[in-house]
Symmetry: C2
Subunit: 621 residues, 2 copies
Amino acid sequence: MSIYDERINQLRVLMRDKNIDAYIVCTQDFHSSEYVGDYFKAREYLSGFTGSAGTLVITYNKAALWTDGRYYLQAEEQLSVSNIELMKMGQKNVDTIEEYLTKSFDDRIKQSSDVGHNSYNDLEELHNHQDKFIIGFDGRTVNNNFVQHLKSKIKLNISIYADEDLVEAVWKDRPLLSAKPVWELDFGYTGRMREEKLETLREEMKKTDSDICILASLDDIAWLLNLRGNDIQYNPVFLSYMIIGMNHAVLYANEVIFSDEIKEKLELAQITIKSYNDIYMDITKIDSNKNVLVDYNKVNYRLVHLIPSKCKIQNIQSPIMRMKAVKNSIECDNIRKAHLKDGIAVTKFMYWLKMNIGKIKITELSAAKKLEELRANQEGYIGASFAPIMAYGKHGAIVHYSATEESNVKLEKKGFLLSDTGGHYLEGTTDITRTYVLGELKNEEKTAFTLVLRGNLNLASARFKYGVTGANLDILARQPLWENGLDYNHGTGHGVGYVLNVHEGPNCIGWQIKSDRTNNTVLEEGMVTSNEPGFYLTDEFGIRHENLILCKMLSETEYGKFMGFETLTLVPFDLEGIDKTLLSNKEIDWLNKYHQYVYKMLAPYFEGEELKWLQMTTKII
Amino acid sequence: MSIYDERINQLRVLMRDKNIDAYIVCTQDFHSSEYVGDYFKAREYLSGFTGSAGTLVITYNKAALWTDGRYYLQAEEQLSVSNIELMKMGQKNVDTIEEYLTKSFDDRIKQSSDVGHNSYNDLEELHNHQDKFIIGFDGRTVNNNFVQHLKSKIKLNISIYADEDLVEAVWKDRPLLSAKPVWELDFGYTGRMREEKLETLREEMKKTDSDICILASLDDIAWLLNLRGNDIQYNPVFLSYMIIGMNHAVLYANEVIFSDEIKEKLELAQITIKSYNDIYMDITKIDSNKNVLVDYNKVNYRLVHLIPSKCKIQNIQSPIMRMKAVKNSIECDNIRKAHLKDGIAVTKFMYWLKMNIGKIKITELSAAKKLEELRANQEGYIGASFAPIMAYGKHGAIVHYSATEESNVKLEKKGFLLSDTGGHYLEGTTDITRTYVLGELKNEEKTAFTLVLRGNLNLASARFKYGVTGANLDILARQPLWENGLDYNHGTGHGVGYVLNVHEGPNCIGWQIKSDRTNNTVLEEGMVTSNEPGFYLTDEFGIRHENLILCKMLSETEYGKFMGFETLTLVPFDLEGIDKTLLSNKEIDWLNKYHQYVYKMLAPYFEGEELKWLQMTTKII
């Protein structure tokens, strides 16, 4: 028996103690963070599966793990040592978690009936519930929708036990919760004092008649307080919650992470620091005559359910989402500086790559290391904003590819290198994809490169009326591909935080109306969004061209306010990939103007051969 | 005192009898029809205002009428003889109906308080309700949303009295309900038997666990039964309701409108005919254990509220909306024939116009008459599908302009004639707008003509993935205008019925997400939608280019199903309006291909000078 089966059996003992029929272990932390710290890797501890997405379900006699197409192979291998069944999400005839649980409970009912009335009574006694099944999970690791979904899809009599993390007792050497020091982002970077932000938040609360606002999103809290941390990889945030009232607020976090200076400043802003876990007690003490603003998509299930039932709940999008998405003018000026630094680093990487390919040994990992070094040379560089994607050849077709020692390959003087990377600078966060031509290309590669580029240029040059959403604009990026029966299976753009999460709502660009209402978000002046159409031919190659674009008001006429985008990213598109005959005159103009601007901005930082190369690389076509 | 004030005073007597504090008279019939018969013109009878949109509100001491910008002038004039106040909807500082009623009720409370406690008691006795206000209206002329809106916006204690049409007793010489003969549309036109349609409907009902379906939309019923009538101007439908069960259905209508043959056929399909008004009694007798499918947007408030409260209601979009929107292959073949006939008529009109402008006296009305004659020459022509818009010069900028004897002007040999007209043929319904160049144009006119045309061509040539909605596509039509800070203040496209309403849901094209979910409708193969971008410069000119487009599946690749449009309308765009330098090569190609196709289709029906002219008019540019 593998250690994973042993660990699961230990958990089953606890399940029986508490009459829990099925226990679900999710991948999330308590804040729906994109990345999670080691403390939160309970699913990995129990199953051995290390992927970034997956859900483990344990019943008395079985265990199964759901994951998506990115992880089929990895999960197959990692689960092979245990009795955990792999459930390939999205494949036909694979049960959902709800279907699996329904069948499992149905089987139990049948078995009980089969073995006669007496035995049924035993079971009944054992569980102390008549055909009622208890599903357990740590309510801090899921949101309300998860639970509603379970309840609506499982047509049996079920109840939920979400008050306890059973893994805690099983996992003896569990890592501690991260508690890295918090640092302050100065006014020169944030452009707004925390007092001012709190005041704006309270005005938003008043608009919805709310007395109290609960925050659990780490980037919401970091933005509001002008503080940054280091508890989540790639996201400079710190583990915390907040309860904000009209005159006073409480920040729940490990006190050791704050310097005395920061503590004093928080006190001045009428913010008290209490222990990270205290919120679970304090939330139960909210006056029942209060109106509580809480975004069910952002605040975990257990917190939501601890709010006194007499409180009036305003379940609406956290006002901070929109507040932090709309960058102020100081942030915008900074972001331009960050993109200049990033543009220098990435363009120098492009030069290094073009000069050395076929001459020295370059691998996916060494290329990523080189780019990281070039970024680190820039003043104010903090670190990578997400796990770098440096994908050569057919690896480029794997949308979430991240090179490992095992997968790492040497770059040859042919085909594409798809490089999707980003950095945090004090002046803002970048996210850029370039597809570099390393040598000869097939015709279909050049065609696809050009079609994807057309989508990028058409979205970048869009002019639209105020009120437009990402769902209205998406077709501009996809039309060149759709005209040719091609497509990419991801959104066209996501919002980007300011020294925060590189994936930030609510703004996004995508054609399918999402249930979480985010692509109904009106694009406001000051929002930064990615523009990243792509094309992927499985086992052959992948192409993506990504710039960040800043939404701006361009003119107001009697027909309305008209908006457009400023492209922030300052790195040439690889001209060697372009089939000019496929571009319209308007597209050629736009590309030339972009390259002229990139040259103008970068040239002061280049000299000699490198400058000559830059000139060639941004030439008029 | 005008007759209108007298009529309103008569109504106030009834209001006092029934303790109704405010009575609302709407413009709708009992079926939310776009046009209403004379019987339903209660608002016109009481106010003298003849516009197609307006709501009259009567309190004990005041009366006010709300209408929109199209009717400000007309309403001002028509209301000048009475004491009815004009409320210009959409203008700043103009109260909504709800605000008006709130203030009116507030005043009553204040007055009562001012005159002392005794008087307040008198009022209380008079109304037999303590500060509770009763709002009355004919519940058959509004839908549930109207009532919900009233209740949510008026923050006072109100109740609704919707069971009676008070106007009935006041309006002595009220016209009778229309009762025109019903006729059958043969299988060769409909492509599906009514029995088959009923079966499909019942399958859709089963999917939502519904036992009974209530229908009140006249086009839904006409489509389902393959019957047409003549009770509503421009819409070949007949006054009726239906209650449909799993094995049997009841059609509520005036029996005299059915021939014996049709009655027999309905009987064969297990459909019983009962009196039009009987539904209001029968609906109360529905078994309380039944699940009732009823679309609150389509079935009037009174009917909805007569459904026994124990019935489980499925308030979803009527399944027939989608069924009739997706035209079957026989309908599609017919529709192409209808467009050929319409194309011949409209193109001959264009020839007549071009040859005679400046030579004989042509007015807006005489031009409309000429076009109607040319359509009537076509076999199978039934009549106009909506009130023709023949708008010369600055009239073109009035989006809903319809020439009257008073407004009628003579066409000069300059500027634009905007002609938006359509016909019903046995083979289908058409809707076409052309903007004809009558002589010299200003540069801005030519530019605007070309920009609007670009929008039309770009939407017509769109290729898109299955699942796309009108909200995703709209920008293709608007982008050329938006790029120049211009726009049009209406949707880009509406669904079109088959010998039914020319405005038919649920498909439509528009960028703003509507609350009634219609532009979230996925465009399905077989849907016919209009493609009609425009531009309007107030007091100067108007431009609109409208074709009908049929959604089709074009290819299926590993990236999905790809869709596009077939343009159905067969009439040249006026080349004299085009500034070719503004068109892209792709747009020029598309225009040339369209004109070649129009020529090929129409040429067999033209000869001599007319044919030569057609050749010139559709020439390659």
